[in-house]
Symmetry: C2
Subunit: 164 residues, 2 copies
């Protein structure tokens, strides 16, 4: 499935379940929100979220612990997981979805271009998964692939993997 089809199937499945979703985007900068809200009726399940592009907004908007940023930095598994959990808490949503990484053109904080983490969390179930990716391509392609991986991770957690 392409990103638009993934977003559509996620909105349909969440609607069917009566569950809600919030997003905390860094490297994708709003692409996931844009994809989800492109689906008519998205407002029944997608609440919104934050674009924590600047590092300090990962703390103030997305709810990442200051100590996490100090210890592992903005591009890390723990940071991605805390972004997903944090935005879900702040938006009072069932699900949280997060992205952080380096799209380039320059490496950042010692991380290579293409190193990306996507994370999904659920507020009550013991679901919290983070995936690390090493993506190839230019800035636009890395951002696109990251959005796809994040939506894919959520689709998988929702049991939609077989049609992905």
């Amino acid at each position: 499935m392409n990103n638009a089809a993934l977003a559509e199937s996620i909105v349909a499945e969440l609607s069917r379940r009566g569950e809600t979703l919030a997003s905390a985007e860094s490297v994708t900068g709003g692409m996931i929100g844009a994809l989800l809200t492109d689906v008519p009726g998205a407002s029944a399940t997608y609440l919104g979220g934050v674009i924590s592009y600047a590092t300090r907004l990962k703390v103030t908007l997305a709810g990442v612990d200051r100590s996490t940023l100090a210890e592992v930095g903005p591009v890390a598994e723990r940071t991605a997981a805390e972004m997903a959990r944090g935005v879900a808490e702040r938006c009072n949503s069932d699900w949280g979805l997060a992205t952080t990484g380096v799209a380039g053109p320059e490496p950042q904080d010692g991380h290579q271009v293409g190193q990306v983490f996507v994370a999904v969390s659920h507020s009550t179930r013991a679901v919290s998964r983070v995936e690390e990716l090493s993506l190839q391509g230019g800035r636009a392609s890395i951002r696109h692939q990251t959005a796809e991986a994040a939506l894919g991770l959520l689709a998988d957690a929702l049991g939609l993997a077989s049609i992905a």
Copy 2:
């Protein structure tokens, strides 16, 4: 200019000035953030912001007064202005940019499909402008036109109008 070119010229002008920007998106759901972060080097000026798609997030994330929502609702000039000011305050940015409106397919809260407000604010200068639009077209087109209008409003405030 198309949206990508508008975003590019805004990032360039803000970088030149050493000023920062945050966004609060409702109807555009992250499209503006996605457009701005598609520009290499955007992180020097675009901090991020919120996607306050659900009405209650306009209060909890974007900083709209609860009384404003009670009095004028989510699709209103005052709400758009407070979203722009609110997100700039919360992100400690120089500029705030906001969108709210109805993309359809159904009318919402008594507002027709295509009724949209875009707002720009500056933290210290007496710049706070809101534009009301009545847009035609389908959901995707209305969202696209709204992003264009918001970026255009900011470009105008930055004195980039002559090349817009």
